[in-house]
Point group: C3
Chain length 153, copies 3
């Protein structure tokens, strides 16, 4: 068994194709050493996946899966923009928007689906700051939308 740090590389994972914008914007914009990534939804072969609302049509476990899928999409965008995950010095910040009913209160558990994946892939460079909030609704009916700030080497 090999001890890896970071434990995974892009080559170990099946990343989805990089998300295309669904409007007049860019998926990521750099400012000095930081890259600001747009809010990402979950797509598979250009088709939206993980549609629904936590507290109504989706369980917390399904929300966790949705957040993990979105995080894979964020990694795909980073690879698309920089060529390689090795350019990531540190994930600085995520905002995890969870499509929620007014009484759903486990957004932090849903968000772990994204941050667990980032730590699994990037090691300590994936341990970021994070907000997790419940929103009324999301574009295309996504269960989870996530934006990110990443520091590049």
């Amino acid at each position: 068994m090999v001890n890896r740090n970071p434990p995974l590389t892009a080559a170990d994972m099946v990343l989805p194709a990089a998300h295309l914008p669904v409007g007049s914007y860019a998926m990521a914009v750099k400012a000095d050493g930081l890259m600001f990534l747009s809010g990402h939804g979950s797509f598979e072969a250009s088709t939206p996946t993980h549609i629904g609302k936590l507290g109504a049509t989706l369980t917390t476990e399904e929300g966790i899966e949705a957040a993990r899928a979105v995080a894979l999409g964020l990694l795909a965008t980073i690879v698309d923009q920089t060529g390689d995950l090795s350019r990531v010095a540190q994930v600085i910040k995520l905002v995890v928007f969870v499509n929620s009913t007014p009484d759903f209160t486990e957004q932090h558990r849903v968000a772990n689906g994204a941050t667990d994946l980032l730590i699994e892939v990037l090691g300590s460079a994936g341990r970021c700051s994070r907000s997790a909030v419940g929103v009324a609704s999301l574009p295309l009916g996504f269960a989870v939308e996530i934006e990110a700030v990443v520091r590049l080497v």
Copy 2:
């Protein structure tokens, strides 16, 4: 026909008066070369405009108009703070908060009202990263609130 890049300047547009804070904060704060702009609503002569909720009292087209109005207010704040839009090197990031019912799913179309305007005015410097989410409600009943990060020259 003259090819302009950026296609418009502040002088070509009727910008609203710069938005005043509605509480104990500043409309924009700089950090190194970045300017962080507060969440802006839509005002005309200090009166809130574009009040309502997408999916209930407003159509998507009306939401697009609201987002465009808010983007004009962001430009007004930039001019107020820096004197001129020529100081904008790049709009880095918008978060577009859309006052939405639980089943409205066109926040990305609403947000185009803002990003189309920024690209129209600033050219490629207006093509930013972006999140668009549906929130339960907004201050003063605004249909759209937008915050921004801008890189200055």
Copy 3:
């Protein structure tokens, strides 16, 4: 009467214990001179406080108290991470997520509970840019969640 600038120091206040993460993330991550703080809720001795929804179970005044409690937690994290509030050159940005019914429209008044406290404690270094929005629900049922970007000396 002594004129103080900043008017208070950490020693003058009873700050809560620094908030622990409620998932796989860090409470704050630095990038160059900026510190990005995670979304904070309100805790007292590790127990969540200020639970409820504006427009339903809580009044605006109670929301203001909640926002003040969260801001004390943000200061506690800054002290925990840097040793002292004197490292704060400027609070750059807050996003104040207010747990709201669809018709509550005083998120800006609720957010003043946080920004008034920061200005009281830090003087002009506490006058930040800010967004205040109404979200459908929050982790653990918090009334208010706040994230921050702070510039350090």
